[in-house]
Symmetry: C2
Subunit: 229 residues, 2 copies
Amino acid sequence: MISLYDLEFTDGRRPSPFCWRAKFALAHKGLAWQEVPVGFTEKDKIAFSGQKLLPVIVDHAQGDAVVPDSGAIAAYLDRTYPQKPQLIADPASVRFVSNWTGPVVHAAIFAMMVADMYARVRPQDRDYFRQSRARWIGTEDFEAFQAAARTDRLASFRHSLEPLRLQLKAGPFLSGETPSYLDYIVASAFLWARSVTSFALLDAGDPIIPWRDRMIDLYGFGQKAVVVT
Amino acid sequence: MISLYDLEFTDGRRPSPFCWRAKFALAHKGLAWQEVPVGFTEKDKIAFSGQKLLPVIVDHAQGDAVVPDSGAIAAYLDRTYPQKPQLIADPASVRFVSNWTGPVVHAAIFAMMVADMYARVRPQDRDYFRQSRARWIGTEDFEAFQAAARTDRLASFRHSLEPLRLQLKAGPFLSGETPSYLDYIVASAFLWARSVTSFALLDAGDPIIPWRDRMIDLYGFGQKAVVVT
């Protein structure tokens, strides 16, 4: 059994895209895990990991090995469970997909839903979220920031996803016939959005939608996740 | 020996980024090749390949095997010469880098140097270039289009290269300690630009520049290539 320390919002929402990456990785490997919900102001729960970011896993079958960081978790699982399906065939090019997802996908999605996120943070974490995110975006007026981002950034965000559309011409998953960590990196951003906003990030006819929905349903995640409608 | 059919402009310039990918792939594999320059209006030279795009290789050591398409060439070389250093560890994620490079890097670079390209096409190919590229961009006034692109697109182009900057924090090459096809895909765009324009695509302090220069010098390509200054 593996324990997964997982960021929690209200109503059991699990927004963190990096925690979704870890859940996809565990499911891909066919490993069982139990989730330990952690609020923004409960970082003492992961003090044992020597750092403050989620996700963290503790692998009880491996002497309670502690691994923080979604990328390190994927590498650990491939290394520790090599007999299970491989997650990452080439670390450098998978890192590129992650380095694209951060500034292009995460940054734009965050801007277009920051107020919706704020509305769904646990009450005891609201001050933490407001202060830390205001430092990121330069204002505490999340509603105004979000509204402006939806006006100013939506078209360029959709255009910036062109690599995904080209990729999906070659197969049902970004990785080809079957999903791998490349799919999990990008899909996790959409699972994040889905847990906190009903805003339509994609145009109704976008060929990315069938892939996104396929990823949401994979491993039963869609059924389990809290959704904003 | 391998024959490489390679797009040629004036003064022996070799602009095609896809042909540069093939040259990087051949050099990575330690294979010798001879170049057969082909102008835009000399596609009869590659009629034997059953298609009209460069590069094409003919592998004389393998019964004159004919392989068009830079991606197919890289896959062919890995398959046929597995004892040489591997080019592509994971086709799907390398394909993602190529699918990013097209709409993000090639599209912007092309717009910002189309008039400079036109000035360096072989005289007998100028009509072909003007007509075909005017269909792409909707105008034959390449000077005005290029000037507008340099004003309107340079900042967003530079910003869109953020994945490269993040990637280079982990090592001297996009692939880590040593270069592989991921580096070749992106570097080929800069070798293309370098052969036809002196326009500064990157800010002088950009951390991408040392990598770009490292790639230009790799395999002696920088010394061999025609450069616009």
